[in-house]
Every structure is written in structure tokens, then in C-alpha cells.
Subunit: 443 residues, 2 copies
Amino acid sequence: MSDRQLHLNVNILNVGFYGSAWRTPRADPQGFVDVGHYVRTAQIAERGTFDAIFLADAPALSDRPEYRPFYALEPTIILAAVAAATTHIGLIATASTTYNEPFNIARRFQSLDLASGGRVGWNVVTTADAAASRNFGFDNVTAHATRYERAAEFTEVVTALWESWEDDALIADKATGAFLDLSRVHAINHSGRHFTVKGPLNLPRSPQGHPVVVQAGASEDGRQLAARYAEAIFSVANTIEEGRAFADDIRRRAARFGRRGEDIVVLPGLATVIGSTEEEARRREEELWSLIPGDYSLVRIAGILKVDPAGLTLDRPLPDDIALPVDGSQTFFRATLDIARREGLTLRQLLRKLGGGTGHRVIVGSPESIADDIERWFRAGAADGFNLMPDVLPEGLEAFVDHVVPILRKRGLFRSEYRGATLRDHFGLQRAQGRPSIPALAG
Amino acid sequence: MSDRQLHLNVNILNVGFYGSAWRTPRADPQGFVDVGHYVRTAQIAERGTFDAIFLADAPALSDRPEYRPFYALEPTIILAAVAAATTHIGLIATASTTYNEPFNIARRFQSLDLASGGRVGWNVVTTADAAASRNFGFDNVTAHATRYERAAEFTEVVTALWESWEDDALIADKATGAFLDLSRVHAINHSGRHFTVKGPLNLPRSPQGHPVVVQAGASEDGRQLAARYAEAIFSVANTIEEGRAFADDIRRRAARFGRRGEDIVVLPGLATVIGSTEEEARRREEELWSLIPGDYSLVRIAGILKVDPAGLTLDRPLPDDIALPVDGSQTFFRATLDIARREGLTLRQLLRKLGGGTGHRVIVGSPESIADDIERWFRAGAADGFNLMPDVLPEGLEAFVDHVVPILRKRGLFRSEYRGATLRDHFGLQRAQGRPSIPALAG
């Protein structure tokens, strides 16, 4: 087995990556509001010795819910149910730094980390979503820079709260009656521009110390946040060159914060459409494409581009005068748009490349060709692994676990069994340490 | 079986009501940070066909954590784990209206309600806790009246969000591609003094419609909030007269809001110390009392009274010049203090009555005498049931379920099996309705 090992997450995007996933014969169209769906999917990923499941999120009814499933059940509630039904797989959930308080997030994720035996990660997002902002007292999305400034301070406070307890603070000695050693618990006394938080947290440390910090933003501000705090990054890359450039850039930035490159795991998104042969895979893609309801893709892309859908024609290239908003959001889409321009794709071909929704790379093929692709990226240093987005869930994941994972194992690229119990173990990250520099509550 | 049926919740106060519970031989002193402890306790309650488990909470490291377990794991995370391991029992968790946003609370509790098949209740609290306020950017506790004003608006918004979906909004028809009927989903467009929330929620309704609203405050403001919104009330009453007066008062107030008395379930707190005989029960109380660590009770009561513990003498009555803060907090304690004054108890006797911690009624006795007491209160109209606080968990609950519940069942006061599947079914409440008056998103 090679020294460097691949890491695989599955991004449980409701009932699948394709906008039409819910309409396919074996899909449960109401699975997105059934914790059982997430539990079954996670159990399949655990059978495949995946590093983690990943849940994206936004606190609002999403755009175009009349056409497809949307973010619904709150991710930490899903993860608590999944934790109870699994033993090893990591559990990563998204929570917004713009619409939460750091004490609540630190506490909820540390509670999950204790409930799961140290398997949790927190995906830090700033939520560029106008519908969300209107559910929290704002008319418009907060400016990009302000969101990221708040996100950095938020992450700093959450981490400090997680590290406010030393490992052996809890005594619980029945004989002496000593319960908690206050000399090993520390107020954080944070006072910053966005938050004033005294602390300490009201929870002990977990088997992995505290949750892993995950980040996904790829804008300039997003990269700085990731370089400073992220231990795993869910990135966007459509070519090996893009992937390598991103990983190099992040590690260079991280070094400036005194961090080591190996303390960050870079996982580009990868949407998969698997068939037993190349031809079957293409037929499957064709079917998924044909089931995308009516004008869903057109309306959605028009929404991202902020143009009238009636002004777009499917069988022509995108008009030249269309540009994306420059606020740093929609990174995933921007990458695909660049390719469309470069290759002169028609709108229909571009939509197809987007798989009916987002801008992550889509791979359509046999298990062998998908394994080849993954190995190529991994060996080229363009990825430490992937955040997989199967076309339909759970069946697309089942195909990956049953047919692609065995090839990756045979090639010595991927584990055949879990060697550790925590998410940090799976990712090859060190256990999180306390901060003895913070003054204790009692001394 | 009599028509009117008793309702029983168990308040899982960490490892038990007594400050010394964790030091008793069979207790797990670290159970308070182990979801398995809550799951096992809930399973015992479910075996006893209880209505619900109840979790109190405060978002801070509590006073005197060096002596005893404290609020730690976030309650909705615990409930998600318990939901996965039980089938019928109701699941009530506390969340603060002072330190949360209504959209997040509406969403998290509705997610739990869907995950549990409609078994959830939200206990609305305003959190009168200085340590909590310092974790959320405040130097001091927000004034009582402001907290309750915010709580009322918060509850109004949460309820409106829960009711923003009609029952059959989700279509999910694979054949036509119609997923969500936007004419049955409604923005709430709330704009008030504390919150501006557009909505709708991003979740469908649950089998019981939405979670039950529970409330515990007994101050003037607390009673108004309960009368307006609460469907179950966790009250404080030390005598049958107090219990009856409280229930009558709440129902009178509720009538002024156009609500029916039977739409509110009143459940006073009741701490239990059970022995197979009266004498064994008293010996058990003695042992629990002897295990309360050092000066814990004295320090705690001095903290509540805001006096120097050194100025208090255990074997004298409380000094006359000591008064409780008049901000409406500490209701539970106030009731006990009144009794202490009336009966001329020494501080030591008062502390004993407080069971090492709170001011709810403590009953010490055999299963028969406890069943008699419960029946007396129930028949007198002083309670629709009780929020039980066993001395030690889970063993104190096990004793209740194995020895008191059979007597209550034999007397026709309490169910032998669940007749419904939701918490509203157990409490005898109607299914929650939508609000067709809110304008639809489309249609």
C-alpha cells in the first residue's frame, strides 16, 4: 500500500446531485425530509470505509423548490441520528457564521463530537443567500468582506471555546466529591469587533479534542480563512492544473500562518455518474438529463446570471456581455463558465456540464475509468481525495462503494478498514490541543 | 378507567435531582456528557408509557460546576439521538429566546419533529443567567420585562414559521415533475420590534403538525406568555392549593386570549425519593443528603440570595432581612422560601427541603404513598400530571416505572399502552393547524 492515502467524503445533497435525481425509479422523492434516508446513505459510505459524510446547508427555502428537493432538515439533527446508527464514519455539517452565535455553534458541534466519539467536522460558511438574510432581519446579503471578517472572528471564538477545557478537567471522583477541576477550565474573555464572549464552554473535550474545521470558499477572502483555520477544504477544480494550483496556493498561505501543509486535506468536489460500461454510464446521464423538470435549469442559470430566462437561447453560446457578480460568490459556477467560454459550448451543453445544478466537475464512466481519473488527480497532487456527489442517492453511492472502492483498494490507494476511531484519525490530522495560555477559572 | 388521564414527564436533570446523585453507588458520574445515559433513561420512561422526557438547559457553564454535573450536551442533539432509539415517547427540549434566532429554533425543532414522527415539544425559556448573558455579548442579564417581550414575539414568529406550510404542500410527483406546490407555502412577512423574518420555513409539517409549545415561567410575565402560547406548562407548586390556584389562573388568562382550558396541560414539578417502605425511603434521602459535597448547598443558596456564605448559619432560621431579587426569576426557589419562613425552618432544614438544589416539591416515600399523593393532587385539580424529577437517574426513574406506575394503572389513572403516536396524542391536544390567512408564495 502506498504511503499517502486517498480521502473520500460523500456529499449527501438531498437525494442526489442531479436536479432530477428524485424522479428516477428507485429514488425516494421525500428522502430529503427523512432522517432514515441519511442514515442508510451514511451506512453505505461506512461500508465503503469513507472518511466522512458531508452536509451542505442554507437556512432558507431555496430557489426553485417547486422543481426539486432543497435544504430542509437542520444538519446537526441529521448528524445526531446518523451518529447513533454508525460507528466510524466522520460526520461533517455546515453551519453559517452569519446567522448564528459562536457559543451556540461551539456547543452544538462539541455535543455532536462527544455523542459520536469524536467523529465530527464543522463546515464554516458565510451564506451568500438573499433568502436566508431575509429570515434574519436583513434586507440584503451582508457584503462579502464583512461576512468573511465576521467568519474569521467567529471561527477564532469557536476554536477558543473548544480549547477552553484541558483534557483531564473532569474529575468526577465519587469518593472525594471533587467533580470538575476549575484550574483546568479557562474563560476565553474574547472581546472583538463582532463578538464579546466570556466562556468557558460547558463541555469537556472529545476523543479527537474537538471537531475538525472544514471550509469551502474559494474567493480571496475564502482562501485566507481556509489557510488560517481549515483542516479540510471542499474545493472546486475542473482540471488537474486548477486543482494543483489551488492546493499549492492554500498551503503557501497556510505557511504564512505558521501552519504545515500536511495539516490541511484538500478535497475537490466530484460528481459521479457510474455505469457498468462507458456506454451505460452515458445512457444513465441521458436519462437523468431528460428527467430534469421543464425549464428548471434555464431558470436557475438565469437566476445565477441575474438575467431574464426569456432572453437566453438553449442552442447558442452564452451572450458575451453576460458576467457573473464579482462579490466572490458562485465560485463553483464561475469555473464552469470559464470552460464553457473557452470551449464555445452552447447553453444546452453548458447546462449539461452543470449536471442540472452546480458547477463541480462531473465524471461519467465505468468504475475502471472513474478509478483511473481519481488516481491521476491524486498522484498529480491536484487532490488529497474527493468530496463525492453521486448523481442519485443512495444508489449512486452504492455503485461507487461496490465497484470503484474495490479498485482503489486493490491499487493500494484507499483503506480496506478503519485504522482509527475519529475523523482526525481518518484524515491523518493530529489530535486537537488545548490552549494552556488562557488563564484558568481557578488556580 | 377514568375519563381524565394523568400525564407524566421525566425531567432528565443530568444524573438526577439531588446534587449528590452522581456520588451514589450505581450512578455514572459522567452520564451527563454521554448520550447513552439519556437514551437509556428515555427507554425506561417509554417502558413506563410516560408522555415525554424533558430537558432543561442554560447556555453556560453553571454555577458551582466543581461540585456536581451541569447543563452540558445541547438538548436538541440529545433528543435526536433519543428519537432514533425510541418509538413513542415525547421529546421536550429547552431553548432560550434570548440567545437564539427564531428561524433557527423553528427549523431545528421542526427537523426534530419530523425525525421523531411528531413527538417533539419546545420549552420556551428567557434564561435569567448572568453567565449565559456573558457568552452572548452582554455584561448583564437583560431586564425581565424586555426578555419576556422578546420571548412573546419570538414564540409568535416560530409558530408562524411552523404554520407557513399547509399539509399537502409537498407533491413530489415523479410522473409530472411537480415537487412543491408554492400556493400552499406562505411567507410570514413578520416585522416587529425584535425580529424581521420573511419566511417561509424550509420544512413541511409533521404528523402532529408542529412541536408542542411548553413553558415554565411563573412570574406575571411568564404567566401571560404561558396563557397565550403554552400547550403544556411545567409549573411550581408546593401545596394542592397553590397548584389549583395556578391552574385556575392560567386557564382564566388563556380564556382571555380565546383559548380553551383543555388545550393546556399543567404539570407541576415533583422530585421523588422512593423506597420500598417509608423508612427505606427516608434512609435513602439521608444517604443522598450526606453525600452532597461540602459546602455546595450553602454556597449555592448564598448565591441565589446574593449574600456572603460566611454570614449564614446552618442551624438558625434565615435572617429576616434577606430578600430575593424581585425581577421575577427564581420562582421555584421563592415558593420554598415562603414555606421556610411560614414554618420557621432552619437553614439546614430549608436546604434539605430543596433537595440540594432547586425549589420543587420533594416527596419521600413508598410507591403506595407516592401514588396516593399523585392521585390526590390529580383529583383535586391541582395538576394534570407531573414533571417528575427522580433523585438519581436512571435508578430513581426505574423505581417509579416498576413500582408506582403499576399502581396508577390499576387505579385507572394512567395509560397501560400508548394510544397514539405523537406528543399531541399523549397530551390529548389537537393536531396543530396551518394558517391559511397568510398569503401564498404563488397561486
